[in-house]
Structure formats: structure tokens, C-alpha cells
């Protein structure tokens, strides 16, 4: 019998446990990460505000070099030298500022209530430890219990993520498993301590599309079962459309748009988001010609002045070249870092001469406010 099912609806997230309504599970404010490079300072993440509610699935979408993966690493304080998380950055998770925690305390959070699923299953696993012992290790780090108990729990986790012959598989090494199986093991490790938030950084990018479907279905079922929140980091607009309820779009180190998933796909506000959507070839509609975004993403050591997208933007005018737009409120929970939004908003009420009234004083200074509350 053909085992088909409907793709989960984007609104279908499990009933959140615990957290009081309104208080986000994760709240990032003015996150800045810099890297000292031979070409100068790269401002890889430059004033990111982002929130995830308990049980919610949120997308963080952008192309290579936009800073989305560095954002994920910074949340867990995994940014390595020469990277540096700037003072003033805040990452609040379950009421605690992770950036202010002692090393010991952050280790207690990582892999416990807050887990990360990496992109590359081949390198994220330890090649000289059996997969079973890697899962057991995480369990023993965070939960007190005997070695045998942890081992039993590990086998149970392997079974949960759909690995056949879990008992025997627990004794295999990473190289003995296929890419899809390795990704399942990583999911088992991430979920072993029943995290409240999973950050999934391109969790299926290295996998074939049929395996990707299988893995995402698994993750989806487990999320519903355990009621955890997921921050899905990806370049794939299809995955975002299918799996998330809210989306942040990132470009050149900044959030450029924030919206409900349906609203974003119905009418993207930022010209970059519009450009991305028009550039993707689609199965469901034949396009004569793709609308390519001209030029390329500038290097993080040399973000353009003004709006960082202006050199590639078809709508750019003088103001875009000289003043960086803040993340402007576009109503209905939507925000976009584009002067056009302000224009639209004012067009409805009063027409002329608003220019400059609410513009930030200096373009590259601060977080531009407007973060998710």
C-alpha cells in the first residue's frame, strides 16, 4: 500500500508546554558577531533580533554568507577564534542570558534543553566512537544515571528515529552508516535529552530529496510528540514554505524581513525576498525566464553603505544609498528593512515630507530597534 500523507500544514505546531504566553522561549537581541580577517573585520552577524516561542517552528532563510549559520553557533556560544560575539549582544533562553553564563553552565544548556542539528552528518559524528556510545555520552552528561541505563536509553533513541536493528546499530561506527542513517543518529543525539528548542542548521542539505522527505517527516513527528520548538535554518524556500509558521529572511548579516510564512509567500515585502522567490525554478509553475538578482552578495568585510541590498535592488533611490533602513513595522506582525515600507505606510495616511523624520542618525551604528518582542 502506498504510504502517502499530506505535508504538514505550516500552522501545525504542537501545543507549547511550559512558557507563559508572550514570553518567548528564545529571544535574541542585537546579536553581533565579528571575525578578524586579512581583509579587515567581517561583520558576519550585525544586529540580529529574533524570537522563538515554545513549540513553534520558525524559519531563518538566506543564501551562503548571509550569517545564518554564525547566528546559530553564536546562540550556543560555539563561535571560534577569530570570531567574536560583541558586547551588548543578548541571547535569552528560558529566561537566562546564555552569553553571560559561565562555561560550565552553558555546557549544561547545550545538548540538554537547547540542541543543535548540524548540516554535515559525516563530520559531526565522532569516527572512533560507536554511535550508541555517542548518544549515551550526551545522556550521561545531562542526566545522572548508570552506564547501562544510558546505553538502554540510547538504543531506545535509535529506535525512535527509525533505525532498524537499533540494538546492533548502536555498536556501529559513523562510516558504516549511510548519509540518511547518520543524520538520524544526529537527530537521536539532539533529541536524547528532550530539548525544548532544536536549532536545525540545513539538516537535510547534504541528503537526496527522497531521504530528505523521510528525515523531515521523522523530525516533524518527533516535534509533535515532544512539543519542542524548532528553528529551521535553510536556504531552501520550499522547506520554509512547507515546515515553518514564521520566517526571518537574512541578508548581509541582518534580518531584512520578518513575517508569518503564509503572508511572506503571498506577498514578500523586501525586494531581496521578492527577488529570491522570483529566482527559484519551480515544479508547480513553468517560468519562461527566471528573474535573476543581478550581481552577488558582497563580502562581509565590505557591506555597502546605506541599505546593504541597494546595489542589487531594482527599486533603490538616493535614500537607499545613504541611509540604512531599520527593520520597519509593516503591520500585521510583519517587518521589513526597506524604505519602501515606510513609503507605503505613509502613503495611506499623510503623503509628503516625512523623509528623515524617523531615520536612524547613523547607518552602521546600532541595532535599529524593532526586534521581535
Amino acid at each position: 500500500m502506498s504510504d502517502s500523507r499530506d505535508a504538514p500544514s505550516p500552522g501545525e505546531t504542537p501545543g507549547a508546554g511550559g512558557a507563559a504566553p508572550g514570553a518567548p522561549l528564545l529571544e535574541i537581541a542585537d546579536l553581533r558577531v565579528t571575525f578578524a580577517t586579512g581583509d579587515g573585520v567581517a561583520r558576519a552577524v550585525d544586529g540580529v533580533d529574533l524570537a522563538v516561542q515554545a513549540g513553534e517552528t520558525v524559519g531563518l532563510v538566506g543564501e551562503s554568507g548571509c550569517g545564518k549559520s554564525v547566528t546559530a553557533l553564536a546562540m550556543l556560544r560555539l563561535v571560534e577564534h577569530p570570531g567574536h560575539i560583541a558586547h551588548g549582544s543578548r541571547v535569552r533562553f528560558e529566561g537566562r542570558d546564555l552569553l553571560a553564563l559561565a562555561d560550565r553552565d552553558i555546557r549544561a544548556v547545550r545538548g540538554n534543553h537547547l540542541a543543535l542539528i548540524f548540516q554535515e552528518p559525516a563530520t559531526a559524528l565522532n569516527p572512533v566512537l560507536t554511535v550508541g556510545s555517542q548518544i549515551a555520552e550526551v545522556i550521561r552528561t545531562h542526566q545522572h544515571g548508570s552506564r547501562t541505563e544510558a546505553k538502554r536509553h540510547a538504543v531506545e533513541m535509535l529506535r525512535t528515529v527509525g533505525i532498524p536493528d537499533a540494538e546492533q546499530r548502536a555498536d556501529s561506527y559513523a562510516h558504516q552508516l549511510s548519509g540518511g542513517m547518520r543524520q538520524r543518529v544526529l537527530i537521536a543525539i539532539a533529541l536524547a535529552c528532550r530539548p525544548h528548542l532544536v536549532i536545525a542548521d540545513e539538516p537535510t542539505t547534504a541528503l537526496d530529496v527522497t531521504i530528505q522527505a523521510e528525515i523531515l517527516e521523522l523530525l516533524d513527528g518527533l516535534q509533535r510528540q515532544m512539543g519542542m520548538a524548532v528553528l529551521l535554518i535553510t536556504h531552501n524556500l520550499g522547506l520554509v514554505a512547507e515546515r515553518t509558521r514564521r520566517v526571518y529572511v537574512m541578508y548581509a548579516g541582518q534580518i531584512v524581513e520578518e513575517a508569518g510564512t503564509e503572508a511572506l509567500f503571498a506577498a514578500p515585502l523586501h525586494p531581496y525576498t521578492q527577488g529570491l522567490m522570483a529566482a527559484v525554478p519551480r515544479l508547480d509553475q513553468l517560468r519562461e525566464r527566471l528573474a535573476a538578482i543581478p550581481g552577488q552578495v558582497p563580502p562581509a568585510t565590505a557591506w555597502p553603505g546605506g541599505c546593504r541590498f541597494h546595489p542589487r535592488c531594482p527599486f533603490a533611490w538616493d535614500r537607499c544609498r545613504s541611509e540604512m533602513p531599520p527593520l520597519l513595522d509593516a503591520g500585521e506582525g510583519r517587518k521589513a528593512r526597506c524604505w519602501l515600507v515606510e513609503d507605503e505606510a505613509h502613503r495611506g495616511t499623510d503623503a509628503p515630507a516625512h523623509r528623515g523624520t524617523d531615520a536612524p542618525a547613523h547607518r552602521n551604528q546600532h541595532g535599529e530597534g524593532g526586534g521581535a518582542q
Binding site: D3, E214, E242, E262, M277, V280
Partner: protein, 334 residues
Amino acid sequence: MTTPVLGCPGAPVRPLLAVDALTVHFHRRTGLLGSHREVVQAVSGVSLAIGHKETLGLVGESGCGKTTLARAVLRLVEKVSGSVRFDGQDLHSLAPGELRRMRRRLQIVFQDPHASLNPRMTIGAAIREGLTIHKLAEGAAADRRVRELLEEVGLSANAADGYPHEFSGGQRQRAGIARALAVEPELVVCDEPVSALDVSVQAQVLNLLMDLQARRGLSYLFISHDLAVVRHVAPRVAVMYLGRVVEEGPAEELYARPRHPYTQALLSAVPVPDPLTKRPRIVLRGDPPSPVNPPSGCPFHPRCQHPAKDEACRTVRPELEERAPGLRTACHKG
């Protein structure tokens, strides 16, 4: 140009490229100290045809044999059996000198332009190399030709003096395309040409490839794992699984009404960038079997979820048969 041949409507009458029952194997050493030798059956009895100015899309997942097929088409790897005819001549039986002359007419664009661009050679020198080898231009004429080619692919003429690492991925891919075009080929094999690129740049390169085809009358064998990309560029598509073509035909029919259960699963697995689209999804269980030891009968039978799957699927190899105008499917039940 697309009237029936060999009982296969939709395929070109006098194809530029005709691959017939091509089989390619690899020998691989495994085990401790390579003590064990095994045969990878990468391509098994594949037949394909590409007409003049036509694009054939070839889709499949990792390990399905699509890249090996591409290499065998260019005779970069040797066949076990079958033939590859280009403009009527069997490439696999040409003498080295003849093959070299023939290679001018077939070029390849790789996923990673690093594979075709020497890191120690300027972009201009890399493009010029083909002109020299095939004695197409020299001296100032060659310089002029290099500049024209760079401009044709959307790079500035002074890119000729740069080295590959000085360019972005998209620019390098443009240079790789210019290098392939320098020798005026008729067929270009594009092996995952945009897979390493971000979507905004991917669209630029896809548009370029389509413009070049229109302008120069090129034929493409366009290989990709991305079904949406292939849909965009190819009016005719072949789907490979475990070394075999399991379905082939007009893209419109194949994408709208796939008959093979693998094509159905593959298409249903692609996430569509529209949150309001709800499609039934066929989730396959398990990994594809190894091409070292492919299953008997239909190569897809262990993962197939067709309700009528039976003994024949496990024992008898299905041949490609026409199921709809131009659409050929290798399935006992499809």
C-alpha cells in the same frame, strides 16, 4: 524534429547523440588493505538520444549513475558494452587522434568549475588553451576571441588576466562555460552546473545557458539532482535509478503524470515554495540499494510502494515501454 524513431515518439529522428544500451562498470577495492575487489554496476543498459539544438534533462539521486553516464558519453571512462554515437560515429571505437578531433564538438561544464579551470592558469589562458589545441586561433586573433567569449558569458574582457580564486562561484562558472564554448562545440554536457550556486546566482547562470543555446544552436545533456531546475531547462527528461533509466519522455507529461513509482516519489518529495500547496507525499523507506549488488527484477522493487507489486517485480527486469504519447516507463505496473 520530434517525430517517431525506434518506436519512441518524442525522440529525435536523426539524433546528434545516440546512446545505445550503454553499460559501464567500475572496479573498486574494499576491505582491509583493499583485499576485496568488487564491481560497481554504475550504468546498466542505458539508451538515450539528443537531437540538434535540443536539451535532454537527466535527473536522479546520488549514486544513480548519472555522472558516470556523462563521462562515458564523452569517453572519459570506458564502456563495458553498448555504444555512444555522436553524429553517426561511435566514440568508443575511434582511434585516439580521431577522438581528439571529435572532442572539439563535445564539451563539458562541471558542477565545480575548479575541475575545469587550472588554479595556476589565468582565466584567459584556460579559455585560450582549447583554441590552441584545436588550432582555431592564435596570436592577436586568439586574444580577441577570448575577450569576445568572456563578454558573451557576461564577464568583462579584463577577467582574462584574473586567476580562478579571484572570482565568485557564479563568475567561475561563467568562465567554465566560456572555456567550453571556445572550441565551438555542438553538444555540451552540463553536469550539475548550478548545484554549487546560491539561488540568486543560479538563476543568472541558467538564463545564460538558455540564451547561449538559442544563440548558438547548442544541444545540452543537462544533468541535475534538482527536479525544478531540470523542469526549467529541459523539454524532455530521463529519470535514472540505480544505473538505469526508469522513465523518459516529454517533461510536461512526466512531471504532470509520472507513471513510474520512483518518479512519483521523487516528485512528491520536492518541497514547493508555496505554503498553501498541499500535496500528497510518498515517503520512501530505506536507502537505495548498492550498485555493487543491485536487486533482481525491477531495481526499485525493494523500496516500491505500488499496491500491485508482485513476484514479477522481484524477478523480471521491466523494459522501457511507451505508456503515454512519448512517455516510456520501465514498470510492470505503472
